[in-house]
């Protein structure tokens, strides 16, 4: 790896970024996701946090540009130069530009935006080009699959030279010491949510990531991906068409895009709960109706995501509405049109058309047991 002369780096560990101009060749959501994952490649390896700004100046201003765009490094049309970024510093420092003339892609047919973004953010954080062909910071383009991507060693050494490692001298524990025994048949979950094309299952300080149809499910520590949540998540849900997820603990919630937290925690009163509600047990977003159901004790509320208001004539009784689901609702998630309720060691598959439970399995079977 190489650093820039004078080894410029950010003195702060939490950096803001803003996508000021999008490309016409990908949806905003795809660009947001690629950028989030490109940043996460670095925050997984070093104690860095990235917070998305939606207006004004940010440390890392990101934009898709054509030809001469005012920074004396004009782009050259399709192929050739794909993007560039500036070393850490005020003003232009850290800014990252992509050539809008390229055919950007979320896959391998065209230039994979995650691959190029992750490389450019290496520059924005203070890394020059590496002469190691296996490194992400090697100058020429080489497709990287975003799912399961792990930063090559050469890049990890470079970024940790500048910012240290996530924990002093040790690899971050991906599985915390008291990792609950996944195949304990009494295993229950604290929260379950979709996130992109994965399902996340939370328990104590651990969470499992499951891709829709893949068996490889491995536990991670919540602290490693959600440092602000640490442990004991009460509830979580994702509004997939907004690419936004919500995580709840006590009277607070956090908003994330992918695994990147957007700003500081907020109070659940934002949703319009009555003041006596200080914690929710579970939450699930229903794609068809665009409503989020919040479960609190024996009752549930319905929040209209389109109008962003709590619906009237709620709360209603869970027993009345969801017959067949027994016990307190710990977690809930919608998959392929069915609502899955997790209550203690059992998971209830609820068919909203039949208005009845159509299957009951062990909760732990969802993480491969």
């Amino acid at each position: 790896y190489h650093l820039f002369p004078g080894e410029p780096k950010w003195e702060k560990k939490t950096l803001t970024y803003r996508i000021a101009k999008y490309t016409t060749s990908l949806s905003k959501l795809d660009v947001d996701r690629a950028v989030d994952m490109g940043l996460k490649a670095w925050s997984d390896a070093a104690p860095l946090n990235f917070v998305k700004a939606n207006q004004g100046e940010a440390d890392i201003m990101i934009s898709f540009e054509n030809g001469d765009h005012g920074d004396s490094y004009p782009f050259d049309g399709p192929r050739g130069t794909l993007a560039h970024a500036f070393a850490p510093g005020e003003g232009l420092g850290g800014d990252t530009h992509f050539d809008n003339a390229e055919k950007w892609s979320t896959g391998s047919n065209g230039f994979n935006l995650f691959t190029v973004a992750a490389h450019e953010f290496g520059h924005a954080l203070g890394l020059g080009h590496s002469s190691d062909p296996s490194a992400l910071m090697y100058p020429t383009y080489k497709y990287q699959h975003p799912i399961g991507f792990r930063l090559p060693n050469d890049d990890v050494k470079g970024i940790q030279t500048l910012y240290g490692s996530n924990v002093s001298g040790k690899e971050l524990p991906t599985v915390p010491a008291n990792n609950p025994n996944a195949c304990d048949s009494n295993l229950s979950f604290d929260a379950v949510t979709g996130l992109g094309n994965e399902l996340l299952f939370f328990k104590d300080r651990t969470f499992w990531r499951r891709q829709a149809y893949l068996a490889n499910i491995r536990p991670s520590s919540i602290a490693s991906s959600f440092p602000q949540l640490m442990a004991n998540v009460d509830a979580a849900y994702e509004v997939a068409d907004r690419g936004t997820a919500y995580f709840f603990k006590g009277p607070h919630y956090w908003v994330t895009r992918g695994l990147i937290t957007q700003g500081s925690p907020r109070t659940i009163q934002d949703f319009g709960f009555p003041n006596h509600v200080q914690k929710i047990d579970a939450a699930v977003y229903l794609k068809n109706t665009k409503k989020t159901l919040f479960f609190v004790g024996d009752d549930f509320y319905s929040y209209d995501e389109s109008r962003r208001i709590m619906e009237y004539d709620y709360p209603k009784s869970i027993d009345d509405e969801f017959s067949g689901v027994e016990g307190k609702v710990d977690a809930a998630v919608e998959v392929n049109g069915y609502i899955y309720f997790f209550s203690g060691p059992k998971a209830y598959k609820y068919d909203t058309e039949k208005e009845d439970v159509v299957n009951v399995v062990k909760s732990s079977s969802w993480i491969g047991c």
Partner: protein, 81 residues
């Protein structure tokens, strides 16, 4: 063809000039005449690039050097300014 070139395809010569001016420009840009007649500056830039990419360091514009120059890449210089 001038000693510095193992090939005389004019398009490649322009590709090489643009590439070296962009990514190895810390000692100034090249003249097209240098590209044809060769020069110390050109040879040293080529050597720097060949060394960076782990190629045989010849100072000559050979096929393996030109093929790297044609690959899509990041716009940041390899020799940091």
């Amino acid at each position: 063809a001038p000693a510095v070139f193992a090939l005389s395809n004019w398009k490649d010569i322009y590709t090489a000039k643009e590439y070296l001016d962009k990514y190895y420009s810390n000692s100034g840009k090249l003249q097209i005449s240098e590209m044809v007649a060769g020069s110390v500056s050109l040879s040293s830039k080529l050597k720097k690039m060949q060394q960076f990419f782990g190629l045989q360091v010849t100072g000559k514009l050979d096929y393996s050097t030109v093929s790297i120059m044609k690959k899509p890449r990041c716009g940041m210089p390899d020799v940091a300014n």
